[in-house]
Symmetry: C2
Subunit: 248 residues, 2 copies
C-alpha cells in the first residue's frame, strides 16, 4: 500500500510545489514508485514538470467531479508519474460544496491506484478549502513547508487546527511527520530566530533547512527536478536527505 503524503500550508509561496517535485524525485532515485498529485488550480506542479495543461483532455478535475478513473489521467515526467491539474479545477471548489461525502473524493480515487505506487505526494493550493481538505483526508502524513519569516509562522496555528479537525472527523490516522524550513537564508538573524521558534513549536519534527538558491527557480523553467537539472547542487542533496529521513 502506498504511503500518502500531503504537502500543505495555506500560506502562499513557501515551497509546497518545489518540495513535492524534489522530494518525489529523491524518493524515485531510491527506487520507489512515486505518484505526484496536483490539486492546485494554479497547476504549478503540472507546469513546472512541463506537462502542457492546454493539451490535456482530462485532469484531476474530471476525477473529482466526473468519476473519471485516476489511472486514465496519469502522465509520465521522467522518473515521476503525475496526476495533472488544469484551471478547470478552480470550478471544483464551488461544484463540490453540496456534494455528499465531498471530502473523500480524492481518497477514493487514490485507493484505486495505491497498489501501483510506494509513495503518493499531493501538492496542495495555498488555502484551507475543499481541495486541501480532500488531500488531508486522503493522506496518512502531512509535510509542512515553511519559509522562516514571521508572516509564515502565523498561519501554522490555523493549519494545525485544521489538521486536528480532520483527524477528529474524517481521517484519524493523519499525522504531521515533518516541517520543512525552505528557501532558508542562514546569514540573517530573523530567519535564525524564526527557525528556533519552529523547533520549539514542533519539537523533533523540523527537518534540516533547504537553503535559498535561485537554481530552484531555474528548475521550473527547465521542467526538471533539481537532481536532474544540476545533480551536484546542495539543494538536491537536501531533498535526498529528507527522503532518507522519511524512509526510516
Amino acid at each position: 500500500m502506498a504511503r500518502i503524503i500531503a504537502l500543505a500550508n495555506q500560506k502562499g509561496g513557501v515551497g509546497k510545489t518545489t518540495s513535492a517535485i524534489n522530494l518525489g524525485a529523491a524518493l524515485a532515485e531510491q527506487g520507489r514508485r512515486v505518484l505526484l498529485v496536483d490539486i492546485d488550480p494554479q497547476a504549478s506542479l503540472t507546469d513546472a514538470l512541463h506537462i502542457d495543461a492546454s493539451t490535456l483532455e482530462r485532469s484531476i478535475y474530471d476525477v473529482l467531479t466526473r468519476q473519471v478513473p485516476l489511472s486514465d489521467i496519469l502522465q509520465q515526467a521522467g522518473s515521476l508519474t503525475v496526476a495533472p491539474a488544469t484551471i478547470d479545477l478552480a470550478a471544483a471548489e464551488m461544484q463540490l460544496i453540496s456534494e455528499m461525502g465531498r471530502e473523500q473524493l480524492l481518497a477514493d480515487a487514490l485507493a484505486t491506484v495505491a497498489m501501483q505506487f510506494d509513495d503518493i505526494l499531493i501538492d496542495c493550493p495555498p488555502s484551507l478549502g475543499i481541495l486541501t481538505i480532500n488531500a488531508l483526508t486522503a493522506a496518512d502524513s502531512v509535510l509542512i513547508p515553511v519559509e522562516c519569516h514571521y508572516m509564515a509562522l502565523r498561519g501554522l496555528a490555523q493549519l494545525v487546527q485544521s489538521i486536528e479537525k480532520i483527524q477528529r472527523r474524517t481521517n484519524p490516522r493523519l499525522q504531521i511527520v515533518g516541517v520543512i524550513p525552505t528557501m532558508f537564508n542562514d546569514r540573517t538573524v530573523h530567519e535564525g530566530e524564526v527557525l528556533g521558534m519552529l523547533r520549539e513549536q514542533f519539537p523533533g519534527k523540523v527537518a534540516m533547512p533547504i537553503r535559498r538558491s535561485i537554481k530552484f527557480a531555474e528548475t521550473a523553467l527547465a521542467g526538471k527536478p533539481m537532481i536532474e537539472y544540476d545533480p551536484a547542487h546542495p539543494g538536491g542533496q537536501a531533498y535526498r536527505d529528507l527522503a532518507r529521513e522519511l524512509l526510516q
Copy 2:
C-alpha cells in the same frame, strides 16, 4: 470619491500583503486618507499591523455575510485605517456561493465609506475565488505584485483572463494599473530574464523592482510599515516612488 486598488495575484507569497501595507503607508505619508481592507482568511495584513484578530468581535466577515456596517469594524494602525479579517472569513467562500449578487457585496460595503478616504487598498488571498472576485468587482484599479521567478509568471495569464471576465460581467471600469516586481534579486540572471519577460507582457506598466531585503520580514514582526520601522531603508523609498507614480 476614494480610489479603490486591489492587490491581486493568485500565486502565493509574491508580496501582496507587504505591498498593500507599504504602499498604503507611503500614500498616507503624502497626506492621503488611506483604508486597508483585509479579505484574506489568513488575515496576514491584520496580523502584520499587530491588530489582534482574536479580540475582534466583528470583522470583514460580518460585513460580507451579516450586513454589519463597514464603519463599525474599522481599526486604527498608526496613519492607516484597517478593515480587519479573521479566520471566520474562510467560511465566507462557502456561505456566499448561493447568495444573489454575491460579487457586489464588498463594492456595496466600500461605497458606504468612500467619501471618508482618498485611497482604499484591498489585500487579496492567493486564489481566484469569490473573495478575490469581490475585490476585483469593487476596485477601479488592480496592482499585480509578482516575484521574478518562472513559476510566478505562469499564473499571470490566468489572472488577466479573470480580470477580463470581470471587466465584461461585473466591473467595466476595472484597469490593470501596474505590475510590481517584488523581492527582487538583481544579482541573478534568472530574475533579470523574467523581469524582461514581464516588461514585454505588460509594456509601460511594470514598476521599478522592490529589492529583496530581510528587513521586510522584520517589519511584520514589529507590526509596522517599513517607513516607520526603518525610515531610511531603500525598500520604503521604493514604495514611496510607487505611491508618487500612482498619484500622477
